[in-house]
């Protein structure tokens, strides 16, 4: 409808909270970003930064009844997903939006054969007959390059290696030729050589099928290798957003800089002192209203909490957005 045609997904000021014993905790605090058609957008951050909750909010897979979307909008091809009915969202999820989860063993049902699980997707989302769905599933396994797909259809998940299981999960997510795929740490549980295979596979399938991808990871290397745009999250908020080449060449926010500097690469001299970010990731329970990275750095003291203003978020050069806390961002 009124959505810009080049963006397949628009997330606008999304707020997601969890009801806990300690009260309502805001895991995602006004997160906004867009996914251009056919592109890969990476969301990167440390544990608890809200990257997975953001993704799960988009497809409304939040833990129930604790998780709630309290505000903001998610528009997929112009359609509002936040207020869509449960039936509508179920149609979209697994259909037009595919989801790849981190731990393939928990995304697959251990007591059903692979064949049944893959063809179920076709049975749910298309009008294919049982036989047709089965054949389509074999095709799908071929597409994700599983050797001897007919045989694998008869296997149970535990009979496959981690890399093969992740391929099955990808096959499930891609079965209905989705236009958007959300991959939540798709390679974190895998070895590097298998990770390389899977990232390569996702990249090639994206080219073949022309889909858009949201890739959630804590690994900046994975982001650098496979994303067009990057969203950096810290403590429930987006602190920086730019194209991948721009972000790695010119990180602007203190948190992004710290993150990039603290990782040893093959080029870092051995046993040299790595730069660190002091403290630890702030817990949801004691989030300040002001700049949360300042809170971690000890620049906001307990007494000052809540009195500070939330820093703005501004486009400082074309396509490069940053949270403009005067301490964390100096132009």
């Amino acid at each position: 409808m009124n959505a810009a045609p080049e963006n397949i997904l628009e997330v606008d000021k999304l707020i997601t909270s969890f009801e806990t014993e300690r009260g309502l905790l805001r895991a995602v605090d006004q997160v906004s970003f867009t996914v251009p058609s056919g592109k890969t957008v990476g969301i990167v951050g440390e544990s608890g930064c809200g990257k997975s909750v953001t993704a799960m909010s988009i497809v409304r897979l939040l833990p129930q009844p604790a998780g709630k979307i309290l505000g903001g909008e998610v528009r997929f091809k112009g359609r509002d997903l936040v207020h869509a009915s449960e039936a509508e969202i179920r149609k979209i999820r697994g259909g037009e939006i595919g989801v790849i989860f981190q731990e393939p063993m928990s995304a697959l049902n251990p007591v059903h054969r692979i064949g049944r699980q893959v063809s179920e997707v076709f049975r749910l989302h298309t009008k294919l007959s049982k036989k047709e769905a089965w054949d389509a599933s074999v095709e799908m396994l071929k597409l994700v390059r599983i050797p001897a797909p007919e045989k694998r259809m008869m296997d149970y998940p535990h009979q496959l290696s981690g890399g093969m299981r992740q391929r099955i999960v990808i096959a499930l997510a891609l079965a209905c030729r989705p236009s958007l795929v959300i991959a939540d740490e798709p390679t974190t549980a895998l070895d590097v050589t298998v990770q390389a295979q899977i990232l390569d596979l996702i990249g090639r399938l994206q080219q073949e099928m022309g889909m858009s991808v949201i890739l959630i990871t804590h690994d900046l290397g994975v982001i650098a290798e496979s994303c067009d745009e990057v969203v950096v999250m810290y403590a429930g908020r987006v602190v920086e957003k730019a194209s991948s080449s721009e972000l790695f060449a010119r990180p602007l926010h203190a948190y992004t800089k710290g993150l990039l500097r603290s990782i040893p690469t093959l080029e870092t001299p051995s046993k040299s002192v790595l730069s660190t970010i002091p403290g630890m990731v702030a817990s949801l329970a004691d989030h300040t209203h002001g700049c949360r990275f300042c809170q971690r750095m000890g620049r906001i003291t307990a007494g000052g909490m809540g009195t500070r203003e939330r820093p703005g978020f501004a486009e400082v050069s074309p396509g490069h957005w940053v949270e403009t806390c005067p301490e964390c961002y100096q132009p």
Binding site: Q195, F248, T268, T276
Partner: protein, 340 residues
């Protein structure tokens, strides 16, 4: 028992095998064995870090556990400070336990949730009968300070701490008895990147201060490169390449090492390294291929040649050892190791 030899190394492992029995049939007879570690030799000098990399299931953790004798080796020998510790009883091992300590991947699982941090760190002193209570508590305070925790941490319980802080507690406990060697099994892989660098810095600093040796086991090659003097690459129970960390990253010789290195994502989007994509999976250690395991995986034309070959680690350049495997070496390197 004491036969201090000329061997300058602190730890030397020779032809070590750790096999786990596989039982089957009605009578649960042993029908086979998982060859988790299958003929591994290396040494670690005082003050040195040997990095051990490999993918899941390659046997690196089993090797680490065998060295601290948490697992019984099937054959081969482990010498520590010139003393053969391969077959010592748990009682005879007691003095060794002071010298060799271990840091685990998941500090949450390796720290007793019912013990205060003070009792956790004090326990090694009690077990080994060191000092009176006042002295022990003083040491606990010193250790906490050394690993960057406030002394108030002593009163608290491990679950009250974050992952990084818990790993500090694990490190303090490992340091308590002033060990010479610490086996670190994936010490930072469960931590967030910004915390990971704090722990790596601490480990490097402690090594400088106390002259510690590390066996540093990890799957993250950049991390291993950062902390290690030499690096051993393991594949299916065997070391396939061992060299100084500079040499192994600058000039890897074994095809598996090359594939492993090429798979590391680069942190610079402008640099796109050519990736070597491996086909297939690691073969099962229950029924490993008769010849070159990696040659078998990649379906190498010369695989048949390697059946029955020893594929021993051979020096290909100064201090650079590689498995003598025609499937995994360039023709030039293969000729070089064959002439040795």
């Amino acid at each position: 028992m004491l036969s201090a030899m000329n061997d300058p190394s602190l730890l030397s492992v020779d032809g070590l095998r750790v096999h786990f029995p596989v039982r089957g049939g009605v009578l649960l007879r042993q029908t086979g064995a998982v060859r988790a570690v299958d003929g591994v030799s290396f040494s670690i000098a005082p003050g040195e870090t040997l990095g051990l990399v490999g993918e899941s299931g390659c046997g690196k953790s089993t090797l680490g556990k065998a060295i601290v004798r948490l697992l019984k080796p099937t054959s081969g020998s482990i010498r520590f400070g010139g003393v053969d510790i391969t077959t010592l009883s748990q009682r005879e091992l007691r003095p060794l336990r002071r010298d060799v300590q271990m840091i685990f991947q998941d500090p949450a699982e390796s720290l007793d949730p019912r013990m205060s941090v003070r009792s956790i760190i004090e326990e090694p002193f009690i077990i080994h009968g060191i000092g009176n209570r006042a002295e022990r508590l003083k040491r606990v305070d010193e250790l906490l300070d050394r690993v960057g925790l406030p002394s108030s941490a002593a009163e608290r319980y491990s679950f009250e701490f974050s992952g990084g802080q818990r790993q500090r507690i694990g490190i303090a406990r490992a340091l308590a008895l002033k060990p010479k060697l610490i086996v670190c099994d994936e010490p930072v892989s469960a931590l967030d990147v910004s915390i990971q660098s704090q722990i790596l810095n601490l480990l490097v600093e402690l090594q400088k201060d106390f002259g510690l040796s590390y066996l540093f086991i990890a799957h993250d090659l950049s991390v291993v490169k950062h902390v290690s003097d030499r690096v051993a690459v393991m594949y299916l129970g065997k070391i396939v390449e061992l060299a100084s960390s500079e040499a192994i990253y600058r000039e890897p010789r074994h095809a598996y090492t090359k594939a492993l290195l090429s798979a590391i994502p680069s942190h610079d989007p402008r640099v796109r390294r050519p990736r070597i994509l491996l086909e297939g999976d690691v073969p099962s250690p229950i029924d490993p291929p008769k010849g070159s395991a990696f040659g078998h995986r990649i379906g190498h034309a010369r695989y048949e040649e390697t059946v029955g070959m020893e594929l021993a680690l051979t020096e290909v350049a100064d201090g650079h050892l590689v498995a003598a495997d025609p499937c995994c070496l360039t023709e030039e390197d293969w000729q070089r190791v064959r002439s040795r």
